[in-house]
């Protein structure tokens, strides 16, 4: 069964073709990583919904071409409809509905964060229960997944997401956008002492990153060397994530952990996770940031569980996973 997955919830236009029968992703096209996308000076993210509208048919055709399938092979169309930037979401959602209507194949709406949660299992089947840690530019949360469709949010960020903290620290120190990869690279090359940065004290399994960000800004204003400053930031941010995850494992006694989202590409985080002594699932790099493959993978499983969605389903800017 060939499944299409569409995600336009934020900056990237992404479409994937997934073969559910063999559990293989046949193609996964992400606009910002593709050459047909115009140059944007390397610093400014493409946000405008208009850009999604310009990209989406090209991304769709490329996804079919790479997967070597034709539209008539598609048996299910899935798209992210929540949460995200409304005008952006609507481009992908409307496009997907159009394809579903035209081909007379079922349509399934997908929750973006739920898709991230399951992305570490693409190519295999999830085992339950597991603890999901989603770490990205827009989200930071720990979720207990009891089974498909049954979730308990154990903690979330009360202010900035961890990926956002990376971007803002990079901005403060003049390293440009996005902050994650460049700070990780500097951390790898840095071997000096570390500056002391405060670990935020937030009760339970919630997170806070704005205090670390402010501390970085104050130190930058006092002239702290950039490499030392951002390396110290990465050290404390990752150790904070690990502390919270350990606490969640202790509290729930669930020792199966799935980490996802753009920040799961971070090398120090991966290293620390590997030494946690849990059964760890982490997606290959291409499925860490927003992608259509996770939408197709989850959409197919939700379709089997709940059946198709009406084409009248709308887009939602905010939505908790339930």
């Amino acid at each position: 069964m060939i499944v299409l997955g569409v995600d336009t919830s934020c900056d990237d236009t992404s479409i994937a073709v997934y073969d559910a029968s063999s559990n293989k992703v046949l193609s996964n096209i992400v606009s910002s990583q593709y050459e047909f996308h115009r140059e944007f000076g390397g610093v400014v993210p493409e946000i405008a919904a208009r850009k999604h509208a310009e990209n989406i048919d090209l991304v769709f055709l490329e996804a079919l071409k790479v997967a070597q399938v034709s539209p008539s092979d598609l048996r299910l169309v899935c798209a992210t409809n929540r949460p995200g930037l409304l005008p952006a979401l609507l481009v992908g959602l409307t496009f997907a509905k159009g394809i579903s209507y035209n081909l007379k194949v079922p349509f399934k709406a997908v929750h973006h964060i739920e898709a991230h949660l399951f992305s570490p299992f693409i190519g295999s089947e999830p085992s339950y229960p597991f603890l999901g840690l989603v770490v990205s530019g827009g989200h930071t949360l720990i979720v207990l997944v009891e089974r498909l469709g049954r979730y308990k949010v154990l903690g979330k960020t009360l202010d900035d997401a961890v990926g956002e903290a990376y971007d803002k620290v990079a901005k403060i120190t003049g390293l440009g956008y996005p902050g994650g990869p460049v700070i990780d690279k500097i951390y790898r090359s840095y071997d000096g002492d570390y500056l002391k940065l405060p670990k935020p004290k937030v009760s339970g399994l919630n997170f806070s990153f704005s205090g670390i960000k402010s501390a970085v800004r104050r130190l930058a204003e006092k002239g702290a060397p950039t490499y030392q400053l951002v390396s110290s930031f990465q050290r404390v941010a990752v150790s904070y994530l690990i502390d919270k995850l350990k606490e969640a494992v202790k509290e729930t006694k669930v020792k199966r952990v799935a980490v996802s989202g753009g920040v799961s590409a971070n090398s120090l985080l991966r290293e620390e996770l590997a030494s946690l002594g849990v059964e760890l699932y982490i997606p290959p790099l291409e499925f860490t940031s927003d992608n259509g493959a996770m939408v197709a993978y989850l959409g197919y499983r939700k379709f089997l569980l709940e059946g198709e969605d009406s084409l009248e389903v709308g887009a939602l800017a905010r939505s908790q996973i339930t």
Partner: protein
């Protein structure tokens, strides 16, 4: 009519209290622009404002990445990632800006003329203390807010 006023807070808790009092004084459809450096307390103040609209403060996080966070009675917008006012139109924000909900906008400078007569709050981190300077073109907020802030200190 007082158009300008300044408040000093000594903790996150106090900043939230100030936000809540301010939130209660905002008229329907008000546009409030928050200015100031990264980490000066914009999101914390917004958590307080959210309280005035019965939005649980733990539900209010930074909208930098998602740009818009909508709640039933108020909208939290962050234009940090935008680079020109054209993008503001592309996002369809002008529709959002004209509804009856109160809008709190971080990094609103980029929106330029789209924001008509906003109430502006500028924050500064003074090493532990935070200063919030309010500029209210209609002069309807400062007088009352100063009164409420004083009462709170005495009570």
């Amino acid at each position: 009519m007082i158009k300008r006023c300044t408040f000093k807070t000594k903790s996150e808790g106090e900043t939230k209290e100030l936000g809540e009092l301010l939130g209660k004084l905002l008229p329907e459809g008000a546009l409030l622009v928050l200015k100031g450096d990264l980490g000066c307390g914009k999101t914390v103040l917004t958590k307080g404002i959210a309280r005035a609209f019965s939005v649980p403060e733990e539900d209010v996080s930074s909208p930098s990445f998602n740009i818009v966070h909508e709640y039933p009675s108020f909208v939290h917008i962050d234009l940090y990632r935008l680079s020109c006012s054209e993008e503001v139109y592309d996002l369809g924000l002008e529709e959002l800006l004209s509804d009856e909900r109160v809008k709190v906008i971080e990094w609103g400078e980029i929106a330029g003329e789209l924001l008509e007569n906003p109430i502006v709050v500028e924050c500064k981190d003074k090493g532990g203390e935070r200063l919030f300077k309010i500029y209210d073109p209609e002069g309807k907020i400062c007088g009352k807010l100063k009164e409420l802030w004083r009462e709170r200190c005495q009570g």
